[in-house]
């Protein structure tokens, strides 16, 4: 049957007028179908009614909301109504909770943060997006609290935002904790950074310390063997050397000295830097120090320069300070000045200045004219007054370019690589000076103009003892002045050392300390080739002649030195460079030591000169020289420089009497020369007979006996000599046909010193190692030892030392 589909089953929709078809039941199947249909319909109905209910509900809500909006003026102010308080900490009392529940937020809080929360709410309303924010409130209700505000918009059916849901959570503690954490973390980070920095610094410092320590240790270690080398070289220089050897040796010595000096510099520097350097406080006379430094420099000056020193009158006679260091500084500055000045002058100015107060401007370094012994000082508590002395070391040298000034005092810095090469040096000097000056509480500055000159200035405080008396304190000054200086004017404030002219260089006296006038390219020995290739046209021999007065006969080596220097009339170039090197060798030492010579008085017969040579330092002050004649005499008598012909043995007691029995003229010549090198002279005979004769007439301490000789060989001669020694008579010799000497007819006669003694004389065979000259045979015939030919120096020396150690 046809069922008309009804559009809606709502009763009002169903057209009551329209018949609806009812399906006739047609048996079971039909019934079932119909039942299903009905059931389906009923379900639909239910669903629809449900939907309607929901919609109605919604309508209600909306109406409610609308109501509120209307109630509150419709201005859409975001207002929250407190629905619930979730009080997890149970902080709020019950009553209060009740009080506030249901109220609007405007009613509940007022104060800081409310506006912010309002704005936030508005923002959310406008954006339509939920958001959360931390807002700090300060209200009467809660006090200062931070809330995490969560606001979400509420939408109408049509999507309009009509309100918000607003939740606040008290996060005050959390926020505080969080902030604290952040701060802590920050602090920790800072701490950590500091620690790292500190560790780095410590590390670097440790490394530096270790390096310095190592340097100091190594320098010490290097110094000892180096001193050994230099000492040995010096000892060697006292032996017999030929020209070439001496030159080479002088290079060795001066190089060694320079290296030693360098090492000392390094050690000083490291000492100062590591704070180990201790300063002394000794009394000294500044005028004397200045004078000595200038004197020393003048003595080894090899250029034509004028050295001058000027000390202001108000500088005290005596001050207290570390004189050694001050002298070191002055010497260093002066030697620099001289090094870099080729003409003109170098000088020292010393004067009093007021307390420079280094913290303030540096402009106080003026020369003051007022008598100032530290009256202005700010140290009233000290019994001693302090005086500030300023010292200018000036020169008319090559100057220093401005660009080099900042690094001038840095270690190892030279003005330029060229400078370093040309002038040598290590670049340590100024660094040391600066360190020392600053250690002593002063300042070192420089001003310079290229090609004009430079002035190095240092200002130092010195204590002045109130009981200062220049007449005593001889002990304190013992390291400074010699007895001669005591007689000088203590207040002499001006010193001038003019360059020497040629004429005054060589005086017959020979004992004046003189300057040399050699072109300045002598420089430092280690940069100078020495094989006699110097260009010096002037081979002046009046160089620093060494310790003449100290020569005594025993000091053979020193007299030979004298002989060396005085006996060379020729002007071979190789020689002229030798004194230069001696000088250079002296020079570096002289920087350390000081001389007592009086350079200002070249014409006076100098009384006591002790040159500060190394070997002389140890000797006490000697007697005065008695003029050249004595020196010459000594030279002649004690020199063994004469070759071959009869040498004079000055003291017979000391020298062993040696007999050489040898027929070969060449062997004689060679052996004699070797013995001379050992320092001995010998008597020579040519065969056994003559040997016996000689022994009869003389008393020998040693006999060198050739074996194979004509007339009578060495073996027989020895036998005869031994027989006399044993029996006391020369019968055997007579039997052999030897005539007796007149003086020894009766062996026990007391002749003067040359009585043949019966003491066994050592007889050394000189064998050519032929069969007939075997060692056993030598011993069998009475010989004590043997030397095999050809005779060498070494063999002779060893043999000799056996019998005359």
């Amino acid at each position: 049957m046809d069922i008309e589909v009804v559009p809606s089953m709502w009763p009002e929709d169903i057209d009551s007028e329209k018949p609806y078809n009812i399906e006739k039941p047609r048996g079971d199947q039909d019934m079932l179908e119909e039942a299903n249909a009905v059931r389906l319909l009923r379900e639909e109905l239910d669903i629809l009614s449900q939907q309607r209910q929901e919609v109605e509900l919604k309508k209600e809500i909306l109406e409610n909301f609308r109501f509120e909006e209307e109630g509150y003026g419709g201005d859409k102010r975001p207002i929250s109504i407190l629905d619930e308080v979730i009080d997890i900490y149970q902080d709020l009392p019950r009553r209060k909770k009740d009080d506030i529940l249901g109220k609007t937020d405007m009613e509940i809080f007022s104060g800081v943060g409310v506006k912010e929360s309002q704005d936030f709410k508005r923002e959310v309303l406008e954006k339509g997006l939920p958001a959360k924010r931390e807002i700090t409130f300060e209200t009467e209700l809660f006090g200062k609290k931070i809330f995490l505000i969560y606001v979400e918009p509420v939408f109408s059916k049509s999507g309009e935002t009509i309100g918000i849901n607003y939740m606040g959570m008290d996060v005050t503690d959390q926020v505080r904790k969080r902030e604290k954490m952040a701060k802590l973390r920050e602090e920790m980070a800072v701490q950590k950074a500091k620690e790292t920095e500190l560790n780095k610094t410590i590390h670097i410092t440790e490394e530096t310390m270790r390096a310095k320590q190592m340097l100091a240790t190594m320098s010490h270690e290097i110094r000892s063997p180096l001193s050994g080398v230099v000492s040995m070289a010096e000892i060697l220089s006292a032996t017999n050397l030929d020209r070439e050897q001496r030159q080479l040796l002088n290079v060795m010595i001066s190089s060694g000295d320079l290296v030693l000096q360098l090492i000392n510099d390094i050690l000083d520097l490291s000492k100062v830097e590591s704070g180990v350097m201790k300063l002394e406080a000794t009394k000294f006379h500044p005028r004397q120090v200045v004078k000595h430094v200038l004197q020393t420099a003048a003595a080894s000056l090899q250029k034509i320069l004028t050295l001058e020193g000027h000390i202001a009158d108000d500088v005290p006679i005596e001050v207290i300070g570390d004189v050694l260091r001050i002298r070191q500084i002055l010497t260093n500055l002066i030697s620099n000045a001289i090094k870099f000045t080729h003409e003109g002058k170098v000088g020292i100015n010393l004067y009093v200045v007021p307390d420079p107060c280094f913290g303030k401007a540096e402009g106080n370094h003026q020369k003051t004219g007022n008598a100032a012994d530290g009256d202005k000082q700010e140290e009233p508590q000290l019994p001693e007054t302090v005086v500030w002395l300023r010292c200018d070391v000036y020169d008319t040298g090559i100057g220093i370019p401005e660009s080099a000034l900042p690094t001038l005092f840095k270690k190892y810095m030279q003005v330029s690589a060229d400078h370093a090469r040309k002038y040598g040096g290590t670049g340590l000097g100024l660094a040391i000076c600066k360190q020392l000056v600053e250690l002593m509480g002063g300042r070192l500055t420089v001003s310079s103009r290229v090609n004009c000159g430079s002035t190095f200035t240092f200002v130092l405080p010195y204590k002045v003892s109130p009981m200062c008396d220049s007449s005593d304190d001889a002990d304190d000054l013992s390291d400074m002045t010699d007895h001669d200086a005591a007689t000088e004017d203590e207040t002499a404030g001006y010193f001038l050392f003019q360059p020497r002219t040629l004429g005054s260089l060589f005086s017959s006296n020979g004992s004046t300390r003189t300057q040399k006038l050699l072109p300045h390219n002598i420089g430092y020995a280690n940069s100078h080739k020495l094989n006699g290739l110097s260009d010096n046209p002037c081979s002046f021999l009046s160089h620093n002649v060494r310790s003449k007065e100290t020569a005594s006969v025993e000091d053979a080596y020193s007299t030979i030195e004298v002989a060396d220097t005085l006996s060379e009339p020729e002007s071979s170039f190789s020689h002229s460079s030798e004194p230069a090197n001696e000088n250079v060798a002296c020079r570096s030492k002289q920087c350390q030591d000081y001389t007592n010579s009086q350079l200002q008085n070249p014409t006076t017969n100098s009384t006591s000169h002790t040159e500060s040579r190394r070997e002389v330092d140890a000797r006490p002050k000697t007697t005065e020289s008695q003029g050249s004649s004595e020196a010459q005499e000594k030279f002649e008598t004690s020199s063994q420089c004469t070759s071959g012909s009869s040498p004079q043995v000055p003291t017979t007691k000391l020298r062993p009497k040696i007999l050489l029995v040898e027929d070969n003229k060449i062997n004689v010549m060679v052996t004699r020369s070797m013995m001379k090198q050992l320092g001995h002279t010998i008597d020579v005979v040519n065969n056994g007979v003559e040997a016996v004769h000689a022994v009869q007439c003389n008393c020998y301490d040693l006999i060198l006996m050739d074996v194979c000789m004509p007339v009578m060989d060495g073996l027989q001669a020895t036998r005869l000599i031994r027989s006399f020694e044993e029996t006391g008579s020369w019968d055997a010799a007579v039997k052999a046909g030897i005539e007796l000497c007149a003086t020894s007819s009766n062996s026990l006669q007391d002749t003067q010193g040359s009585m043949p003694s019966r003491k066994r004389t050592p007889i050394i065979a000189m064998t050519a190692n032929a069969l007939s000259e075997s060692a056993e045979e030598c011993y069998a015939n009475g010989m004590d030892s043997f030397i095999s030919k050809p005779v060498t120096f070494q063999k002779l020396k060893e043999c000799f030392e056996q019998y005359f150690p």
């Binding site: 017999n240 050397l241 030929d242 020209r243 070439e244 050897q245 030159q247 080479l248 094989n531 006699g532 290739l533 002989a563 060396d564 006996s567 060379e568 071979s572 170039f573 190789s574 020199s639 063994q640 420089c641 004469t642 070759s643 027929d663 070969n664 003229k665 060449i666 062997n667 010549m669 060679v670 020369s673 070797m674 001379k676 090198q677 194979c708 004509p710 050519a768 030919k789 050809p790 005779v791 060498t792 120096f793």
Partner: protein, 152 residues
Amino acid sequence: MDSVVQLQRQLVDYTASLFHEGFLDEQFNQLQQLQDESNPDFVVEVVSLFFEDSERLLNELAKALDQQSVDFKRIDAHVHQLKGSSSSIGAQRVQKVCIAFRNYCDEQNTEGCLKCLQQVKHEYSLVKTKLETLFKLERQVLAAGGSIPLPI
């Protein structure tokens, strides 16, 4: 001053070659070491003496070997002398020949002796020439203003 250096170098080289070739031995060094400022011509003096002496001895030897009846003892004595002198100045090759010479003397071998004499004469003249050249070089060095380098 290059020429001086050159000459010195020449001298050094020449001296070295003499040693190398056996003409001289360390004993010559000994002589050189005995020369110094107080004894500036020692080596030349000794060597000159050696030349004189050797020439005399060689003459004697020639004469002795020319005799009808050869006096070997005397020859031996001369050779001994020559051996001694040459050994003292370091004339190594001369010395060596002398040793051989002496052996022949012991054997009383005239032929051998004559041969050795020839040899020794030859060696002697060689070493004499060499030494004279050496001295000339030394003089040149000194004349040019240099100094004699030390023996190595």
